[in-house]
Amino acid sequence: MNSTLAILAVLDGISYAALVFLVSVGLSLIFGVLRVVNVAHGSFYAFGAYLAATFSLAVAPLSPWLTYPALVAASIVIGVVCGGLIERFLLRPLYGRDDVLQLLITFAAFMIMDNLQRLIWGVQPIFANEPLKLLPNISVFGVNYTSYQVLLLPCVALLTLIGLRYFLRRTLAGAVIMAVTEDREAATAIGIDAKRVYFVTFIIGASFAALGGALALPTTSLVPGMGADMIVLSFAVAATAGLGQIEGTAVTALMIGLARAFIIYTQPEFEVLVPYLLMVLVLLVRPFGLFGATQLRKI
């Protein structure tokens, strides 16, 4: 592979990693705070994409630029409504019980949402690429790229990472979340409403998944089953990084994105294996993930 192709592969890898990070970070955040492995996370991604399509197609005739706020609005609506309802009515009664119950209940939510998705939006592929068409193409060594994919998506991912870091480490609300994450009992003893923290964190995590779906919309076709594919990849990223590790998720998404791009350029038949091969290799050496730490178990 020559240097020109290597640069092209880096651009492709960064673009792919940006979307993967946005979805995986929500999953990682929810696990970090609530200790819930949320199987319904892929459904938030799919619902975010479908609702963004509905909003975009509705506002595009007024002004194509309105499709950008439509993407964000769809993410927030899905995060608040779907995320809020699932946390309040399905997960909250199960806190403190066996982890398997949480896994089963989020799986049930995933199955229900998968069917709801078909009921609401049907089975035919849906596409709405107005946001992408508004931005120009960029030529790199004679190869066209959409600036939406190689500039906008990585910028959004970077801003999300910086924003989350700032929020969790520099604001009072973030400090409250971190306190509950560190020790729920101690945090509750000093007057922090842990239930409220869980509720808000779940909504934020669900909104990130929905934002990933909404931002994917302009580049892809929405089809039944898209949520299931994304949840598998998100788990691979979050587990490789170490569940609950925000910065680790960013680094892992980048690693997987770049590895996948270089493999497609050199040995494309191994493309599907890349994320999972990386995950296995990392977990064999570091069972708690690249950035995870061994934790004490309370008995």
Binding site: V123, V223, G225, D229
Partner: protein
């Protein structure tokens, strides 16, 4: 008293003799069990297929049924897959006691269900699956394929490409990474090597089935600059690939061949440019050049559009073919049985070698040697015309199935290796839009 005894004995004897005759009488209904995708990505084919089945069954029943007997449908979701699909299929045959089954869309499902149908001795029409190997490796009595298979479908597209663009030197493929993507490329590349050995394959890309992003594949193809890019992808995957390739200029740089792209044309709308080669998995096209002025053809298409919001695509016509084959088999069996209602085995006997007119394309024959359907193939090139907000097909060639289907008793790949460059020179009628 003696008279009464005699009359009673005569009555009992008559009733005993009449028993078997009544059993051969017309049933209350012909039950048809259909497997189709109602969930998952392939529901883009399965749901229109189901809608077509319901429309056609309603129409048959309005006209008095098959041989005067109405049809009744039951459906099984192929999306369940694996053991669940086999269990549901068995339940349909053994508990619901269906008279015939139409199974399935996926070649994987067909591979699973064909031996089951044979065991259960139920007449099964493979109504949409394309793997050629199923009927090439074993002779079945109860299983028939009411349409073509992947070999003539790919060969027609290749011959069309070689006729339209005879001087290309390089080709790349982007197929979904599953059985159809791999097998269709094996068929295409084997035939290409036999007919035009100087062509260089510069990339073989098999992205994950259901991949949401083809950016890296598009970048690589933009850098490689192949003369031709082939894809046998379908559904949302094909839509995404075409759109991403179009946004970045790849569709303009290389000649694109969408080997089974007919089903995506309407969805792609204005995003599909002119000049792309598109195959139809049969001679199906809602503007079929030999049928477009036929009143029944137009009425069916318009009724389907009114019901579903879209013009029919190939699985719709494949479903119609399965019904036509069933009707033809029953009609033939009734005739052979002197007008009496035939037994199940007599219907199976009649199905072998049957030629049936679908009304939607050229007639199809169920080849007697291997029960493989001989179905014509339509290939065309995209063109913008007034009146449609999507591209239609122009320069359509309709291939005779006898010229492009693997001869009975041969494996497709072995037969394809025997093809010569002269094969391309076959006479094929061409039609303008």
């Amino acid at each position: 008293m003696q008279f009464l005894k005699t009359a009673l004995a005569a009555g009992v004897t008559t009733a005993m003799l009449a028993g078997p005759v009544l059993a051969q009488g017309k049933p209350a209904e012909i039950k048809i069990g259909i497997t189709t995708f109602l969930s998952g990505p392939a529901s883009v084919f399965g749901v229109p297929g189901k809608a077509a089945a319901e429309m056609i069954a309603e129409d048959i029943n309005k006209k008095g049924g098959i041989g005067g007997v109405p049809v009744k449908l039951s459906f099984v979701d192929e999306g369940a897959g694996g053991e669940a699909l086999v269990s549901n299929y068995r339940r349909m045959v053994q508990d619901e006691k269906v008279d015939a089954t139409f199974a399935s869309i996926s070649s994987g499902s067909c591979n699973q269900l064909v031996p089951v149908a044979e065991d259960l001795k139920v007449m099964n029409f493979m109504w949409d699956c394309g793997a050629a190997s199923i009927l090439e490796t074993k002779k079945y009595r109860y299983n028939f394929r009411t349409q073509a298979n992947g070999t003539p479908e790919m060969l027609a597209v290749l011959v069309y490409l070689l006729k339209m663009k005879p001087d290309f030197k390089t080709i790349a493929v982007v197929n979904q990474d599953y059985a159809w993507g791999r097998e269709s490329w094996e068929i295409f590349s084997t035939a290409l090597k036999a007919m035009k050995p100087d062509v260089q394959v510069v990339a073989e890309l098999f992205p994950k089935f259901g991949a949401p992003d083809y950016s890296t594949e598009v970048s690589r193809l933009l850098a490689l600059r192949p003369d031709v890019v082939l894809t046998t992808s379908w559904g949302g995957d094909l839509d995404t690939l075409v759109r991403q390739a179009g946004q970045r200029g790849l569709l303009q740089q290389s000649a694109f061949v969408l080997a089974i792209g007919e089903s995506s044309i309407q969805r792609l709308g204005k995003d599909l440019p002119e000049g792309l080669i598109v195959g139809a998995r049969g001679d199906h096209w809602f503007l079929h050049p030999e049928k477009k002025n036929d009143a029944a053809f137009k009425a069916f298409n318009e009724a389907f559009k009114a019901k579903t919001g879209s013009w029919p695509i190939y699985p719709v016509y494949h479903m119609a073919q399965a019904f036509s084959a069933l009707q033809a088999a029953y009609d033939k069996a009734i005739k052979a049985n002197g007008g009496n209602w035939p037994s199940h085995e007599q219907v199976v006997d009649a199905a072998a070698g049957t030629e049936f007119a679908t009304g939607f394309g050229r007639p199809v024959t169920l080849r007697v040697e291997d029960n493989q359907g001989l179905e014509a193939q339509l290939v065309g090139i995209t063109k913008a015309v007034p009146g449609y907000d999507f591209k239609v097909l122009d320069n359509m060639m309709v291939f005779d199935p006898r010229a492009i289907t693997t001869p009975p008793g041969m494996r497709s790949v072995e037969w394809l290796k025997t093809l010569k460059p002269e094969f391309v020179k076959m006479e094929v009628p061409t039609f303008r839009h």
